[in-house]
Symmetry: D2
Subunit: 346 residues, 4 copies
């Protein structure tokens, strides 16, 4: 049994970590922090986490947490995460950081997109980007994981194999993503109040969303050259789930069947990636609450374009589930431990 702390546990990703870890036989949650909700019970904020009625939020007193936990999930806001992550890492702890603070290798790009400086570039150098399907070996040896963003997870899993295979023109990649509202976090904000979101649909952050450089970085590493993409996120009136539709010009003659076969081969040992058959495309509802990424593909020979449609639950494979998957890899547990749950549908 290892002792696990969750720093920043009053948001949706924190709650989701608790939900998933409830089923993990090898760990025990020994601390969960929140400044605002310190003193409150987890079940005061999240009545559905009924099994945690003995657990209360504490302030994030780092020194004190050192003795309480061996493994740290960090679910703090961007920028606020830097210092705390670095602290626990430098003290020898294993850390999975769900913020964006350690995802971008180049601190200048971080500073450009997040409008804040990176003050822990030594620690940054140690961080491994925690997308198991690309980086499993490095994750196994890492002590600090930068857990990928939700949109990037969906886009990278859909595009990396095609790029790796040299199948597409990397100059003209379009990533059109649609996310449920939990992606905006748990907060009092009129823009995500029910009456503003329900029965509506909109684009936002067109061309300026912070996940853009994260997707570009991962795809560039696969391609071996710098890639710039067009990325447009949209807000869907649903709780959870992302569907990402990606477009790229083909550089080789191929067809839908062969693309799917290629992906099936590349992902053949992946426990959480599932390719759909030709003509089928994923519904966010079919992965809700699970750690799966479902992917459909189509070659449009009228335009010589590859269209990939990928779907994940933004709070699971796009955040807390992937964080647990990374922990399992780091600790040498069965990679699917606590993540076997099937999606809840309808």
């Amino acid at each position: 049994m290892i002792r696990v702390a969750i720093c920043g546990g009053s948001g949706y990703t924190g709650a989701e970590l608790l939900r998933i870890l409830h089923h993990h036989p090898e760990i025990e949650v020994t601390a969960v922090t929140s400044e605002k909700s310190a003193g409150k019970k987890v079940t005061d904020l999240f009545p559905h986490l009924v099994k945690y009625n003995g657990l209360a939020y504490v302030p994030m007193e780092k020194e004190s947490l050192l003795s309480k936990a061996d493994f740290f999930f960090m679910a703090l806001p961007h920028a606020a995460s830097q210092e705390a992550v670095s602290f626990f890492y430098q003290q020898g702890k294993k850390v999975v950081d769900l913020s964006a603070d350690f995802r971008l290798i180049d601190p200048k790009i971080y500073e450009e997109w997040y409008k804040t400086s990176h003050n822990y570039t030594d620690t940054l150098k140690k961080a491994v980007y925690g997308l198991p399907e690309l980086n499993r070996k490095a994750i196994r040896k890492a002590r600090l994981i930068a857990n990928p963003g939700c949109y990037p997870t969906s886009a990278i899993l859909a595009l990396a194999p095609a790029i790796k295979e040299g199948l597409i023109d990397v100059e003209r990649i379009i990533v059109d993503s649609k996310s449920g509202t939990s992606g905006a976090g748990r907060k009092a904000d009129m823009a995500i109040s029910f009456c503003e979101v329900n029965d509506g649909f909109k684009a936002y952050g067109v061309g300026v969303h912070r996940h853009t450089p994260e997707i570009e970085q991962a795809l560039s590493l696969v391609a071996g050259k710098q890639i710039f993409i067009d990325f447009t996120p949209h807000l869907v009136p649903m709780d959870r789930g992302i569907v990402t539709t990606s477009y790229a010009k083909l550089t080789k003659t191929t067809n839908t069947d062969r693309v799917i076969a290629l992906y099936n081969k590349m992902y053949s040992r992946e426990p959480f990636v599932k390719m759909l058959e030709p003509g089928y495309y994923p519904n966010a509802k079919h992965v809700r609450g699970s750690n799966y990424c479902f992917i459909g593909a189509r070659v449009n020979d009228r335009t010589n374009t590859l269209v990939m449609v990928s779907s994940i639950d933004n709070l699971v494979k796009g955040a807390s589930g992937q964080a647990v998957q990374n922990m399992n890899i780091m600790m040498g547990y069965d990679e699917t431990m606590a993540l076997e749950g099937l999606a809840l549908c309808p």
Copy 2:
């Protein structure tokens, strides 16, 4: 390992049985039937049940099923269930019937409300009404369980303790229930098409819903006298969940704290009933996907009325979860086996 068959597995309760049983260490699903979908894979209908991609629907050939399974979950439509349930029961199998066919003790009442005759009254006499909180002892010894309806489960759990304690006037019970749309089943029906339900709300079946006599029967048995209730179901634009608001005149002087204390005492050993603290009332979202029933209570001393608000997931505690709970009791397993999952929220 016991071998389990699901008869009528192409509806939402069938799919939910598969989802839940996936986590059950003591059983193996050896057959799932559907006339319409025979030959199709489970994952053709329910892509989220990705772990069942080796399982296909078969027609319900009863003789053949006898050798394939020891335990039968019957999720057939009302009336269609009678004969099949009786057959498996008479052949010595253990059966949990999710239809209404074996819930009403008096076949005349069944015939009056379901507009069809009951042709297996011998089997009917053997059936035990499978609400563990009321009938656990009988369930333990039973071979045929009539699994309760969704609305009745929510209403009976909210009202039975007050009636048992003689706290309320049983002549004036109002049960006002609100259900998610999955309660209507999985079917092509314009009345439950998205555009008819979304962003709307309506009452239906006012005073004539078939769950009325089921609630009345259970409450009458507790009261020791015949009770008639007013029951109004409503359709909520959500997938799952029931919230039932029940009203009754108090016959004794009491207050909210004492009522909650009484309920807490009566349900103290129940793994799936949770009383909320004074001033709190359940949200269907907090039990979504779980087997819990959350209950809030309030004494209105301006009107001398007891108001109970109870919530369950209609597909879990209101159907498939309760069915598995009944199986666990019948088989002597830990009652919570495969039902430990916390609700998925948001």
Copy 3:
């Protein structure tokens, strides 16, 4: 052409007044106030009100507004409304107040439920409760209208005829209401954020909601005696709409057809009340955006209970539409002016 000011125009009822008044041939909106949004254009907050792109919010400077408008719609928060309403009224203006501040005749009851004192009891004595179906004559002569609350409008229209006719036992009235989320207003509040409301359902304010005494006051006036009711509001994952299910014991022998005939007679000249035929009950979706109240009725002879189901759009007949209806009556316009729009469905 009269000049109309809207005080407190940045909420949903303010926006809805603008939407409706856009179609009114006899009026011109000359001012709309908001402290927080002063200087912003109406279309900055409400892009759908595209025809108002020349109108900007101003602070509520009362003296200055006196010269700008003849008729005042007051959509300020409760308590904040008292002084401003009284001011414009005392200055000789015609006023429709959408807040609760002038609805309760007895200032003690106001103070008990709203936890604030009433400091303008002289003005309070002049206010007419603006439910046209009950008070049309008084509204015609009034200069100050207390526009009814949304829940009360739905409940009173459903119950007043039965009480007037002596049909029901007024000691045992249950009012179980369900409202869309716009009833909570336009604000940054986690409790009404999308992910907290969507795909869920809950009761709130059980027995303590402030609309309770308003319903009781109106029904008591009809009955000629003090009535206390049980009132439970619930939150529905929809934008707009209320469905209220009311229960009362019958004091006379009757049946559904006769009750509907009675209501049809009583409401025969009402342009916005529509009785449904036996066996039909209203869906909030069918009145969305319109000023209608749809009502269904059923006599349950098993329990000798009258069940009434009524539905309105909380922002229209439950607020801004009724406010315009009141203005039309006060000004001698055709009562349906600007309110002819049919519901938007789906």
Copy 4:
């Protein structure tokens, strides 16, 4: 007053025609047809159309309809529309056809995508594609209008000015559209049942949707050369509304402000097209129930791409509203007659 018939009035576009025409001072609806619902009242199917309680569906007896109406809105299914439209047109009537049967100039392309032959190619030659922003002059003189599809309306309005101006590379246009569920029509179909759609999101018909050639035809005519596009439709859990995100490579150096200025100039006299300011993108909710098309634009200079986001109500500007707009133009009425209504929001 002209007499109007609606053929195929039991679907959502038929109901929406009735809702809109209720406000039209120059017309009278004299007949509405439905084979399935013949004999039923309009309000039996659509209780919200309460003002039409005197109107009943009749079978489409063409000869008989000739004497009843001067102007025909045809809302029949694709293929079924050909013969009836041709009949009324050849008899000298004015016709707006909401089906796809007369939209594609080349009958071979029609046959390829709709898998049925076109048997009225003489009539087809007379049809004018009814997008007023492109074809107002021709519409004014036409007697047969092919009313555009919902997706095409949103895409063409977003892309035509850029193409006309030679601003974009027409070889690489991506049209990624998202539609509410009413786009699928009013029918009993499990794929659009509430529990399949709610709280989910999916792509469908990737690369094969029938609106593809319609968009291509309109854009090709603007470009003066054949264009092929990638078009992907998605299903959003909302009733109404389309948001289309279009991407194209820029052929000239420009920026967001200049693109918006260009569009503002081109659409300066259009009553129903509204360009948003830089950094703003439309929400389907802000046009719900109105005939507006809202458009946002952004130049991404990192990738040299133009991103256009456009939104309409698929049942209004995408169908029935545009049909009435076309009628107004054909008849010489004020183009906005009966279409002045602001969107219903929230």
